[in-house]
């Protein structure tokens, strides 16, 4: 099938503002959007620039706006979009070039919430810390995060409020707060209770809609809010 692609372009070395490039491509309906981007880059315009690596939705490199929604280009098939596809960079972060945005603020927010197991007790060599399957299940959903940025850059609060840590950082804090082996919940909850924390969330659900891993992001944020209110 023939598909018309409109792709937002911006090269800081020569452009003062972004513009749209138009490309026509013959594709298979089962091709990924990423396949089409590669084909355009390899055969039509070698300057087209985007991030990509694993090409099957686990590395998180190629989050971008596809027909207005944040998606991984490697997890979307052309047949689900029809013959006109518009591709733009994620919103809210500085565009470095074309579809590549600066992720430094994103990772800074993530680092703010101690995204690692806090537990100084020595479990002893030669054995694991015990954890019941039920305790393990509690935080399973938020272990899936690949830090692609789709949720955070889909959130209108993050577009306007640079202090808000954003959904992805909260998801990764959630993953440890509810891990029975972790001892750092109080410090993380203190940050999440501050003005950059969960109370900025207006339960718009854009994050949940955008997550390519199917994480119930809003639900995780709500659980943190509930813990802050009830201490449970």
């Amino acid at each position: 099938m023939e598909v018309q692609f409109r792709i937002e372009r911006f090269n800081p070395d020569q452009d003062t503002r972004p513009w749209f490039g138009e490309y026509t491509l013959e594709v298979e309906p089962t091709d990924r959007v990423l396949d089409a981007l590669n084909e355009i880059k390899w055969k039509q315009d070698g300057t087209l620039t985007f991030r990509r690596s694993c090409a099957h939705g686990v590395c998180g490199s190629d989050a971008m706006r596809i027909n207005g929604r944040n998606r991984l280009a490697c997890k979307e098939l052309i047949r689900d979009y029809g013959d006109k596809i518009t591709i733009e960079p994620m919103l809210g972060y500085r565009v470095i070039k074309d579809l590549v945005v600066d992720m430094e603020d994103f990772f800074d927010s993530y680092r703010t919430l101690q995204p690692y197991l806090v537990n100084d007790e020595n479990p002893g060599a030669g054995r694991e810390r015990l954890q019941s399957p039920e305790d393990r299940e509690v935080f399973d959903d938020t272990t899936k995060c690949i830090m692609c940025g789709a949720c955070t850059t889909a959130c209108p609060i993050t577009w306007t409020n640079k202090d808000f840590l954003g959904p992805a950082a909260i998801v990764n804090a959630h993953r440890f707060i509810y891990d029975s082996r972790d001892k750092g919940a109080n410090e993380r909850l203190e940050v999440l209770n501050s003005k950059s924390g969960v109370w900025r969330c207006r339960t718009i659900f854009n994050c949940t809609e955008a997550c390519p891993r199917g994480i119930e992001v809003t639900r995780a944020i709500e659980q943190v809010k509930r813990t802050l209110l009830t201490g449970e």
Binding site: T47, C54, V58, P115, L117, R136, M147, G214
Partner: protein
Amino acid sequence: MYHRFDAIIVGAGGAGLMAAAQFASEGDVAVVSKLYPTRSHTGAAQGGISAALGNLEEDHWIWHMFDTVKGGDYLVDQDAAEVLSREAIDAVYELEHMGLPFNRTPEGKIDQRRFGGHTRNYGEAAVRRACYAADRTGHMILQTLYQQGIKNQVRYFNEVMMVDLLMTDDGVCNGIIGLDIQTGEIHIFHAKAVLIATGGFGRVFKVTSNALALTGDACSILFRRGLPLEDMEFFQFHPTGINKLGILLSEACRGEGGIIRNGKGERFMERYAPTLLDLAPRDMVSRSIHQEIRAGRGIDGQDYVHLDLTHLPPEVIDQKLPDISDFVRTYMGLDPKTELIPIQATAHYAMGGIPTDVEGRVTIDQDNTVVPGLYAAGEVACVSVHGANRLGTNSLVDLVVFGRRAGKHMLDFMRQNEHQALAPEPDYRARAEIDGLMSTDSDENGSIIREELQENMMNDAGVFRTAEGLQRLQSKLSELRDRYSRVGVRDKGKTFNMDLMETLELGYLLDVSDAVVAGALAREESRGGHFREDFPERDDVNWLRHTLAYKTSGGIEMGSKPVVITRFEPKERTY
């Protein structure tokens, strides 16, 4: 820009980050990675990491060692396999202590499941040895190690691509050159010790489970500097890739009970591996699939077969194989609970690579002479624990065990050694290469060369090989190399020049392909992942040895080194 560190780690996957974790409170270390660390391909590993914990049934490290040696068709260096299987146990506990969320047994211990080629009591039956976190074990290892790096405040240089290795005239490694992709700037990293942990090179093949970034950069760079590559002819084709796309469906599918069926609906592995059936090692299953297809028993006579999960309890698919189910639904539009999944063998793992000893030190000859200051670990290295064929889960074991050993040894090395002076203008070679590519204008399109390379490698250096096919491939490679010498980069900008990056990578792919083909042509036998139709038997008299390929001005020269045999004498390999 000039940087000085005690140690530089190139690559931020499991091996690199595990090495970095060893520097927790000491030493000035930086991790240089072409990707953001969390994008590394360790994150794509699915099924598990084996260690003889014995949490569900009796198990011993020596059984794990035996399986590794036999799985590798006896080309494994047994001193290294012993280290691997002994230290796997402690390494898995260390990962758990770092916070890795393993699945658990009802008693709260790390849960374990069956995996291809892993057996109890030297081959009696499959054993539960693979520790796992659903079907995203690699993702959890990568996340956990990256988290440790944040805790330890490791310095990262993200999206900086290694483009050269620095050595003194005396053969001591003293740094690397990096290209900052975001800015186009050249960085000189001056260090006492360098660890190469950049992963594999599956992108030399058309159908592969490997990420687009896996282009053999470091193998090629060392090869160009006269260092050897070991056993490059051994490349693993994983039996269950999604048809045409090559996306991996973990062996855990079969570990949980999945079956491979041909066009007649037969469980054909009964004929090829009567004891382990679908859980035979990957090289055997991939060859069996190809033989069924050649006999006209593919699906509707075509070149694929089916993976059947429809008889598994739905909750097993939901709880233990969720990501795989998602891949099948997303890319095939199929429901694995009720429909058969079209699969074909997909290029998956390089057993060969940069030769090292068990401390991760890079070696250069049959006497294992060490390059001071230079280390390698993970898929890029060949230690050799995988021999002619890697067992499932042993890649993750390799990363953590040898990443850790390399990190510890580097720490000792940097305590005892000073920085070696850099040559004047250490970046001249890298600049010359990049300037050459940037200033060329021609119609020669690198992308087309890459497609032809991948297609030809798949056809003539894939599951089945012959002298005739490999010689044809050699002349094709020299034609492609000639065309590559005229390729120009179309993007002339400095900022995030992906076109330049891909063009450099194409040069690396060509070098690595040369080494694979030279090894495959030299090795006139069939063993593990290397199958020569014109030499279909294993030949221990002439070929129970590793190959070493050297790039010289007159072409590739082949050398060899002996296999280390300690506990297990080579035997016929049946399952």
